[in-house]
Amino acid sequence: MKDKKWIVLGLVVFFGLLLFPLAWNMLVKAAPAPEVVLTKKAKAAKQCVMPKEYMTSEHMQLLDLWRHSVVRNAKREYVNPEGKKFDMSLSNTCLDCHSNKEQFCDRCHNYASVRPYCWDCHIDNPKGEE
């Protein structure tokens, strides 16, 4: 049939689109998974607000709860399961230990392609360090 060449062309285009990520990653070397850096302060504290597994996957949830609690209920104190107290604050608590936002939050977020809009309002370098 004289249509066969068009059908083959269509197939080639479809498979080309499908396998394009594969070809691209053959040509361009992908950056490896990010290494997050802990500050001296964080290292000294040893523990995050919650256990590490929870923080890695659910930290946005925790932030959401904190925000809700502060903004809606005016409760600013958080007690974690170990009984340690935290001031529920994005800039003053999280970024106190994780003051190296570029090497911590951002590395991960760039890798996962998430762009939190929090920093439109919240200050991301409360201590004014470089």
Binding site: M1, L19, P21, L22, N25, T56, H68, Y111
Partner: protein, 357 residues
């Protein structure tokens, strides 16, 4: 209850259980080997099916002609519904593929009180199908963030557009809202559920629904459901997952080392996708490739302008009546049969003697 959807539902639950328990012992099987195998089966199966279709002969023009064919110059032609040019066919195909025009034409007959009879536009299947397919496409394209590092700018734009609506639900038992809502994922889930409920509750649609209709729906509902669970409810370690997917796409995963910390839910999601890919080329889902090859849509309706001869007709020996008469004319005349062409009466040439006279 109906054996067709119950069997499909149980099959999908069984697949989920297989992935859940299997991934505990053999994460490399569900995370690496099966996805690779599924992609290979998909590509080969898809190509085989389409090439099979390409080989099948299409001897006749069987276009559905849903409008006035090209005719006399003063009769207006429906250029798209009954195309006589390649451009018309391309427009017709594009409208079919991109907007599902033939589904839009769906009507339902209704008998009114006074015995009056009418055809009503039945638009919900079209709306549901359109929502389903475009949400699926968007979700799929958005997922390429797992296969590029850095994520391309165009994918980032799509993510931003898709997470345009921000809403949050915070109660003690349900928290929802960070990370931001992707509308397409929720629309995909809702539309797939709608398409299932339609098969379940519209009795004449249920009558023609088989397990091969329910199974892919349940599978896709399962994929969307596990995805939504992963994103909004029991969150997963995206960094570890992206390490795995980047390994898959750069073929580094061939060492069969799986990163730590990937939850079973992700393996269920991935296993469902692998099953879908394997199932695809052997099922009705091949309408994805088939729609482009539907002979009722992709041909020009020009049967009156062009003579289409069947290309593999064997050469037929013909003996026309004219040749036949030429052969037997004399004998026919002798037998007194009528002939179309009388032999020219022999003008008797004057003999030498007559000339002399």
């Amino acid at each position: 209850m109906n054996k067709y959807y119950m069997s499909s539902l149980l099959a999908v639950f069984a697949l989920a259980a297989v992935a859940y328990f299997g991934s505990m012992g053999l994460p490399w099987l569900f995370g690496i080997l099966l996805p690779y195998a599924a992609v290979v089966v998909f590509v080969l199966g898809f190509a085989r099916k389409v090439m099979g279709w390409a080989r099948s002969p299409v001897p006749f023009r069987i276009t559905t002609t849903s409008g006035q064919q090209q005719s006399l110059p003063w009769i207006q032609q429906a250029r798209i519904d009954n195309p006589s040019s390649t451009v018309g066919v391309i427009v017709r195909m594009a409208l079919e593929v991109l907007t599902f025009r033939s589904l839009f034409r769906n009507t339902r007959m209704k008998l009114h009180d006074g015995g009056k009879f009418s055809y009503n536009l039945e638009i919900f299947l079209w709306v549901g199908a359109l929502a389903f397919h475009y949400a699926f496409l968007t979700t799929l394209v958005r997922h390429t963030r797992f296969f590029f590092e850095p994520t391309p700018l165009c994918i980032q734009f799509l993510e931003n557009a898709d997470s345009f609506f921000r809403f949050e639900i915070i109660y003690d038992f349900i928290q929802f809202g960070l990370p931001g809502i992707y509308v397409s994922g929720l629309v995909l889930f809702a539309a797939a559920v709608y398409l299932f409920l339609r098969r379940l509750f519209v009795s004449n649609v249920r009558y023609i629904s088989l397990a091969s209709d329910y199974f892919p729906l349940f599978l896709i509902i399962g994929i969307a459901f596990t995805g939504i669970l992963m994103r909004y409810f029991t969150k997963v370690d995206i960094t570890a997952i992206k390490e795995l997917t980047m390994g898959l796409i750069t073929l580094k995963a061939l060492t069969f080392q799986v990163p730590e910390g990937i939850s079973a839910l992700f393996y269920i999601h991935l296993f469902f996708v692998s099953v879908l890919l394997v199932y695809f080329p052997f099922s009705k889902l091949m309408h994805m490739g088939g729609v482009f090859l539907s002979p009722t849509r992709n041909m020009t309706g020009n049967t009156r302008q062009v003579r289409h001869t069947n290309p593999w007709n064997p050469p037929v020996k013909v003996h026309t009546y004219e040749a036949y008469e030429d052969e037997y004319r004399e004998k026919m005349i002798e037998a007194g049969l009528p002939v179309e062409k009388m032999p020219e009466p022999k003008v008797e040439k004057p003999t030498e003697e007559e000339k002399k006279e």
